[in-house]
Symmetry: C2
Subunit: 127 residues, 2 copies
Amino acid sequence: MTNPSKIFAPFHCPIARSLAVIGDRWTILILRDLVRFGPRKFQDLEGSLNGISPNTLSLRLKRLEEAGIVERRFYEQHPPRADYLLTEVGKELRPVLKALFEWGQRYTKYRAVTVAARQRRVSRPNR
Amino acid sequence: MTNPSKIFAPFHCPIARSLAVIGDRWTILILRDLVRFGPRKFQDLEGSLNGISPNTLSLRLKRLEEAGIVERRFYEQHPPRADYLLTEVGKELRPVLKALFEWGQRYTKYRAVTVAARQRRVSRPNR
């Protein structure tokens, strides 16, 4: 893309404007998959994003497409089959993912959710 | 802090673990303010985070405190007055904010919301 489209948001702060487009967990995880695996079909994304509903995935992809971050590409016409890939503007989000990766690797650890913890969360849904 | 506490999340991917703690828009904007302004009182944060409810702010701060990213400090005892500041672990999130800032500055632009756009959004609440 020679002339990357501008995304508009009603915030003077560039961080707030970025978050207006990519400021939710699923969106960032979609971008992670497209960075990590390259072009992905809807079903691929659905499979690796554990727990996402098809409706949410569809809405997130549509918003990313409208913002010019993700592109939908038809690689077959009969029957129509498409996959999703990052545009040049989308590829420029790699430093965000890298920073999240490095912080997560350094300051967080994997631990399976225990039954007790899950029950605590159920009883405090807003936390 | 000599021995930074580990944050636990049930994901093998470090990006997903980071997002388990800081993966929502308000949380990142709170961190932005603490990086930009230094220690902030609850009322300061409420004032600069346009549209946040006191309840949401309180929950986000509590979660950040539990994760060891933000610290609550009493600077006066009678009457008790506290402010919030980043811990060493929290300060290490600066590269995430920097990456969001740089992408936002380069690929997004400020534009006030028009009445028409606001109405469109109201009629499509999930977008």
